[in-house]
């Protein structure tokens, strides 16, 4: 066998990234080891998170040393994470599709780069800025106007009902801030794809007498569907892992599941940040180990969502090809 330095070095570099990812997961899993033993399945299905008495003497439970009364259940945070990201996508999708189509179809070529850059700029705004805007502007707006209006118009739906629409902090605020952060991600991916649609396809559709709406919806959108799903997956990745902005507007729920769209929630990422300080004061380290275990849960969720979306796209493509 011939030694090929160029090829080998490329291979090593290419393997470094998955290796780093694997190492992070592996070390988290090893570090969280005792937490798996102590928590068991109650970790996923429990709704009570209690660090226990950090100022008392630790006790030994199931062979590991933990603070008295410690109980780690993360269902509240899993549900908060999935719900806030899902609603954010629901809000962001129509906005970003409309934005991309507008930029691709309606804006004169001269202005397009400027407007596209403005949309991209939204994507680079640090999340803490969105959080601050959320606290100062969005939360009072939801409390005074959006919440009561939603409750009045959509109150017949179970998740929108509720005479009291709360304080503004909560699931709706978190989802709206997330939606704003991910809209440019989906919009710019989609815009690039729309601009790649061959001119012939558009013009052929127009020549067949299609209206502008039909050209976009029937000749262009089907060609960019895969890219659109790719953009949504990217956006979901950002939404699931977003920390600071969510922490600032979500209302920081603990031990309580959201009962409507105005309820306070916590997401996994924001909860890890909020608990880290106190967890570090646990002399048995079980709190930190349990936080490592939640981090693994977040990783699995992100992976599952991504894989699911990919399977869905290839599935759609296969079905269409079979036709």
């Amino acid at each position: 066998m011939v030694f090929r330095p160029f090829r080998t070095s490329l291979l090593v570099l290419a393997l470094l990234i998955p290796a780093a990812l694997g190492a992070v997961v592996l070390f988290l899993a090893i570090y969280a080891g005792d937490a798996f033993t102590f928590n068991g399945l109650r970790f996923i299905f429990g709704t009570v998170w209690d660090l226990g008495n950090l100022y008392g003497n630790p006790v030994t439970v199931r062979g590991v040393s933990v603070p008295l009364g410690a109980h780690y259940g993360v269902l509240v945070f899993i549900i908060g994470t999935l719900l806030s990201s899902f609603i954010a996508i629901l809000i962001a999708l129509p906005l970003s599709v409309g934005c991309a189509i507008f930029l691709a179809e309606q804006v004169p070529e001269k202005f397009r780069p400027v407007l596209a850059m403005l949309v991209e700029l939204v994507a680079v705004v640090p999340s803490v800025v969105f959080g601050l805007w959320g606290v100062a502007v969005l939360v009072p707006f939801i409390a005074k106007d959006i919440g009561p209006a939603l409750s009045a118009t959509l109150g017949f739906l179970p998740f929108f009902a509720g005479g009291d629409t709360g304080s503004g902090y909560g699931l709706l605020a978190a989802s709206m801030v997330l939606a704003l952060m991910i809209t440019p991600i989906i919009a710019t991916t989609l815009l690039d794809a729309l601009l790649q649609v061959p001119r012939e396809n558009r013009e052929a559709a127009f020549a067949l007498g299609a209206t502008h709406f039909e050209v976009v919806s029937k000749a262009m959108m089907p060609m960019v569907r895969t890219t659109l799903v790719g953009g949504v997956v990217l956006a979901l990745g950002r939404a699931l892992g977003e920390t600071m902005a969510v922490l600032m507007v979500s209302g920081g729920a603990i031990n309580i599941l959201p009962h409507n769209i105005y309820s306070p929630v916590s997401t996994i990422a924001s909860f890890i940040v909020s608990q880290l300080d106190s967890a570090e004061q646990d002399p048995t380290n079980m709190a930190i180990k349990s936080l490592a275990e939640i981090a693994l849960v977040l990783f699995v969720i992100t992976l599952a969502v991504n894989a699911g979306a990919r399977l869905f796209t290839t599935g759609v493509a296969n079905v269409r090809n079979a036709k």
Binding site: P113, A116, A143, G168, D277, Q281
Partner: protein, 359 residues
């Protein structure tokens, strides 16, 4: 179009590189002054305003020592000081027995006395101070008292027109010394709270429909001011922000059964009751002290210090700063700016004995 986009990106990149280079050059210049010792402080957001007042005065008196302060949280102050990332960790809570057993080198040294107010956003009360007790607050925060006109609240406040409205209890989501002393007040005054929730810098808040979490003392103030009918616990160094937000302050029931307002006099009375009991390692709760005048939620603000510093120069600088903080820094003109109280002389000498152990 694509070309233009690339161009603007590379401009951005170049700008970023230039900024980085500038930052690097500045920090190099700082390091280059080899004769100065740099100390870093991090931790409690309640102590942060006081450190900001202390630093200019201290560095003028001791030009050889540079002190950097950051506001993170009591938990971070403790953790980073133990890891040796900072020389001074600031915390509203003392180290637990477990932490001391695990890290015998770590000292909890009081620097000043702080207090906490219970604030509420109740429209139509016209500056009247509500009277509240530990068991009532425990009821509000555990969901057994849900409305402002609850008989238990009304009984303490005869003649006050309390609204028939749901209470919104606000708690801290981050690890916090304020949560520590607030939950200690509930723990010591209410057996059912003691048996179920207990105290700590982060506690397992009972599920209360409509309850809210806020981040940091600034977050507590803004959440309370934005939510009519809410209640919150806020550190006394945020007194002017509380006043600006128009929040009411409650009179609290103390261990002797009297309702007291948060003033210098009541905080001093509470401190006086507990100072004599302060042990050598100074890890003691000042919450719920006995005495008719004693305000129930006060605490020592701690510096969390490692006895073995990396070198003699650093150790000397740490001792110099802490000694200065306990003498000149404890003068009323400094601590009163953040509504803290100076340490009583007996505690100062205990603290000085601990400082001598830093080598």
């Amino acid at each position: 179009m694509h070309f233009k986009k690339k161009l603007s990106r590379s401009n951005l990149l170049r700008g970023g590189v230039a900024a980085l280079a500038l930052a690097a050059a500045t920090s190099m210049a700082t390091i280059a002054r080899a004769d100065t010792v740099t100390l870093v402080e991090t931790g409690s957001s309640l102590l942060y305003p006081l450190f900001n007042i202390w630093v200019p005065a201290f560095t003028t008196a001791h030009p050889g020592i540079q002190l950097t302060t950051t506001s993170t949280g009591s938990g971070a102050g403790i953790a980073e000081s133990i890891k040796g990332l900072v020389q001074i960790g600031a915390s509203d809570a003392y180290l637990s027995d477990g932490m001391v057993a695990k890290n015998p080198n770590m000292l909890s040294i009081p620097l000043a006395i702080s207090a906490q107010s219970i604030n509420y956003n109740l429209p139509g009360l016209d500056g009247h101070h509500l009277k509240l007790s530990g068991p009532v607050l425990a009821g509000i925060y555990s969901g057994s008292i849900t409305k402002w006109n609850d008989p238990k609240i009304q009984a303490m406040n005869p003649g006050v027109a309390l609204p028939d409205h749901v209470i919104i209890p606000i708690h801290r989501v981050d690890g916090s010394g304020d949560t520590f002393i607030f939950s200690q007040y509930l723990d010591k005054s209410t057996p059912s709270w003691h048996n179920s929730v207990g105290y700590g810098t982060s506690i397992s808040w009972p599920a209360v429909q409509g309850g809210l979490g806020a981040n940091g003392n600034p977050g507590m103030v803004s959440a309370a001011s934005q939510n009519p009918y809410s209640i919150a616990y806020i550190g006394v160094s945020f007194k002017s922000e509380i006043a600006k937000a128009g929040l009411g302050t409650a009179e609290l029931k103390n261990a002797s059964g009297d309702f007291v307002m948060l003033t210098h006099k009541t905080v001093s009375a509470a401190a006086a009751a507990r100072v004599g009991k302060t042990p050598k390692d100074e890890r003691i709760s000042l919450v719920f002290a006995k005495g008719a005048e004693a305000y129930p939620i006060i605490n020592y603000e701690y510096a969390i210090i490692n006895t073995s510093q990396p070198d003699a120069g650093t150790a000397k600088a740490v001792r110099t700063f802490l000694t200065w903080a306990l003498t000149t820094g404890n003068e009323y003109k400094y601590v009163s700016q953040v509504n803290f109280l100076p340490l009583p002389p007996a505690v100062v000498s205990l603290s000085k004995a601990q400082i001598a152990r830093v080598q």
